[in-house]
Symmetry: C2
Subunit: 555 residues, 2 copies
């Protein structure tokens, strides 16, 4: 048995940060997730690198900003050479296994260019962003160009569900009085029970598939990415979860008429999207949130199943559990639906880490207000696996110092970054922008949130004075200085050497003296032999000085 812990890396899809009782939800009780938080750290200010499944996940899986890995939208393939978490952990002796969703699209053209057979072991891994697929399921299987026959469909058929598309018509539909199928795609059906036995629905199924792997793994160290496809739409859940919540249990809608005055052109365009118009109607929220909350409650119960399994199988003491989400869901807040923009409802995620090892006792049961990014998980996992920091590749920071109580919350990071590319969205068409210019960047400090919008004025919120983000100060002359400072931060961030990923930090230490060139016989700027002798002596002296300093500091 290796000394390194296993890592159970659980991700929900579209779970807002604030729909958990440990995060303050007064009516949605999530005792199992709360128990996880009580045994670890709940990171209260965690942000995704992009409020959209694909780019957000590629950042989780590579530990790199979206602008660095380039997969800026769903189904934009990530470049074939981009190193990922699986590569790093495998090099440290850990199997890195997928159960559920990645939203990965392989760079088939790049693979062909490099002669990588998609059916080979490496090819399969490259096509799964570094994961060894135990069960891959991106969670959308309508009749159409999506995967028409996932393993889950075979499972459902084996359970006796007879349907050409059991994912859609059984797991994600309800039934009318006369047996007619009521599609879960339609929001009006969100508070009806899915026509499936609860234990056969997607969340319990994926939980069992993860347990299957953990049972089969033997003593080999692993990182399992258990990636649930809910509470993402279709918003529909089987009984009894469909009937647990009503409007009296929702958080009040976070929107005001003020937001519609002098609104930012990009938000105005997004508010015209069908989904925003739908969620701005109370009748829609009243039905959909029942389904959304039921899906979360079901996930919490499955967390109980998982945690019980870890205890029962004796693995709890050697398994770090991470619980998070790939982005939030507006649910009508700010007159918006879905995600994509930069309000907290969209970019802020739940993040809980329970590290059972004694060195994490210092932080157990605490809530961290540090500004944490999704890309921090990859370096955290690499550190847990005993690896050296890969600062030339991984752009996040290990959360280890926070887990061990070695870093203060406010000193951890000055600002979190999120990016979004809306080139494939109707808002871009409405605004008449080029696909190169339809991009935004968020800089989020503890107090201020600034959003740089290509071709438009920025957005700005004062989160201390206006935690609900109703008052956009992006055009207010009084806040010129704040905006300049935030823009300077973005400019600095853009200058980072994000593509210099083949040269480890150690290559720069000690700093150059050009002695290596001299030693290699490369003589640049030497007039005669005397110059060479003089320089050799200078380098010999520097080397001797280094040795002496080394001996003095490290006797």
């Amino acid at each position: 048995m290796s000394g390194k812990p296993n890592i159970l890396f659980i991700m929900c899809d579209q779970l807002r940060w604030d729909y958990l009782s440990c995060a303050g939800h007064p009516h949605l009780h999530t005792p199992n997730i709360d128990r996880l938080a009580a045994g670890g750290v709940r990171f209260d200010r965690a942000f995704v690198q992009s409020p959209m499944c694909g780019p957000s996940r590629m950042s989780f899986y590579t530990g790199r900003y979206v602008g660095s890995h380039g997969a800026t939208y769903n189904k934009f393939p990530i470049k074939v050479g981009e190193p990922n978490l699986g590569d790093h952990l495998r090099a440290l002796g850990m199997r890195t296994v997928l159960v559920g969703k990645t939203h990965m699209k392989a760079d088939a053209e790049g693979m062909a260019r490099l002669g990588i057979d998609p059916e080979s072991e490496i090819g399969v891994r490259v096509a799964e962003c570094g994961f060894e697929p135990w069960e891959r399921d991106d969670g959308l299987h309508p009749d159409g160009p999506y995967d028409p026959d996932p393993a889950y469909d075979a499972y459902l058929r084996a359970q006796g569900y007879n349907d050409p598309n059991p994912w859609q018509n059984i797991a994600n539909s309800a039934e009318g009085d006369d047996g007619e199928i009521l599609s879960g795609w339609l929001l009006k059906n969100s508070n009806l029970p899915a026509r499936i036995r609860e234990e056969d629905s997607e969340t319990p199924y994926m939980t069992r598939r993860a347990i299957d792997f953990m049972e089969a793994a033997g003593g080999h160290p692993w990182c399992v990415h258990l990636s649930y496809i809910k509470p993402h739409w279709p918003y529909i859940v089987p009984a009894p979860y469909h009937a647990m919540y009503g409007p009296e249990h929702f958080l009040p809608v976070n929107r005001s008429d003020r937001e519609l005055e002098d609104q930012h052109p990009l938000l105005a365009a997004y508010r015209k999207h069908r989904v925003s118009r739908a969620f701005s109607r109370d009748e829609v929220r009243d039905v959909v949130l029942a389904g959304y909350m039921g899906l979360i409650k079901q996930i919490d119960d499955q967390m109980g199943v998982l945690m019980d399994y870890l205890e029962r199988s004796g693995q709890a003491g050697n398994t770090v559990v991470v619980f998070t989400s790939d982005h939030g869901d507006y649910l009508g807040d700010h007159w918006l639906g879905e995600k994509e923009m930069m309000h907290e409802e969209s970019v802020r995620i739940p993040l809980i880490i329970r590290d059972p090892r004694p060195e994490a006792d210092a932080s157990r049961g605490t809530v961290s207000a540090a500004l944490v990014e999704a890309i921090d998980l990859a370096p955290t996992f690499v550190e847990m696996a005993g690896g050296a920091p890969l600062g030339h590749v991984l752009e996040g920071r290990s959360l280890g110092p926070l887990l061990r109580g070695e870093s203060g919350d406010t000193s951890f990071r000055d600002y979190a970054i999120s990016e979004y590319d809306y080139s494939m969205r109707e808002a871009r068409t409405m605004l008449g922008l080029s696909h190169r210019d339809s991009r935004i960047w968020m800089i989020r400090e503890q107090r201020w949130k600034y959003v740089y919008c290509e071709g438009m004025r920025p957005m700005l919120w004062d989160l201390d004075a206006d935690p609900g983000e109703h008052i956009d100060l992006g055009a207010d002359p009084a806040y010129h200085g704040v905006r300049d400072r935030m823009q300077a931060a973005l400019f600095a961030w853009l200058r980072r050497p994000s593509q210099r990923t083949t040269v480890p930090d150690a290559a720069f230490d000690p700093p150059a003296t050009h002695g290596d060139e001299l030693a290699a016989g490369i003589l640049i700027g030497y007039w005669d032999e005397a110059d060479v002798i003089e320089e050799r002596e200078r380098h010999a002296k520097m080397a001797a000085d280094r040795v002496r300093q080394q001996e003095e500091t490290d006797p």
Copy 2:
């Protein structure tokens, strides 16, 4: 025989833009290169993407900025997945062949990660930045860790030169009165004749190797990168070239005492480098420039050999000839040696393109003042090979419109960019900077040149008032506005979507209406069946409108 022209892509190493008679040098007559210019276009304002061999070449070979491909310094491997010119031209049916230097270092770790065998056909190509190596020779073979036995050494031995290191001791050394070896590495020996027959020296040898390929190619379309390793140091040339030039033939040294007053801290550090101190001495220049100019004269004579071969073999009418360099050489100008900083002597290069096809007649014999970048060659070649623009990968612009007289010089580009990472240089050590911060960016308009220096004030020159770049306005309060404007240009450039390389521009056209989601059965934000019907009707109407518009514009 294919309709596409062959491309002979000739690069010198460290050839300044102004050491050619067609560029105005009064004493260094280069009639063969001038003849090339007279038959094509001489681009008078062409710039490298980085004033250093490795990063500059990786930009030439990928058509991407240095910050995009990430190989920011010599021997920093370029990432394994980075697409290159060879990939693009091969896909269009052209062999892309290397004769000479690339300064490429393969990403061995990345290749291993992806299971690419370095001995395989693809592995060899990946390790050569996409070129099929006909002859690879990076031109530095001292006793030490460099390639100790290039094919050139075998050639020399076959000619009867008996030496354990013929590259160093025969081709790049002179001989004293008593037969002792006088190393070409030492600047004092630069005006002595190399102890080799002229026809066996590196420049004629590489010319013949290129001709060997062109003879062997048959009718298959090709792009040959003939990449000379001179006039780069060791600055030494065989007779008679060693004795053709003396101080009376040099351009006057371009430096003033004014440059040493209130000098920029980075330039101050660079002026302390050994090579800068050496070239600031007149006795050094007086000797070295004789060798440097002799090497250029030898290249010009070899251009004559090459052009005669193309004529004689009937290929001149079907071969586009490109002549350029990977960066310049300070030669003591501005109290500096080598390259690396952003003065014209370092970043500006000769660039001549002779396209024999009739469509280029409009520009034949002209001089273009357009701001041209090294990365413009890759898209130019792709266009010549009949390929569609690869705007999502290639960051340069095809020079085709300039060659065809379709674009005005001033409208071609507002500013040229060059970048440099001096993390491996002694200047960084002197300044005590982190290896992440030791970087600079140039924005060069027709009039102004601005250099953003991480952690320091910028540099600024007014090229109209001060073409010699003696007066750095980077700290002058009067030029605040110019600096702000230039910094804004850098900020805008940094925001480009440089890593979104897997999604072609056509994917964004027509702009999104979300109709594709609807068609795929992904229903986001639909309350009921009526919503779906309404949306289907809206999309049907938009599709019909598009067809009608298409018919009206294209009957």
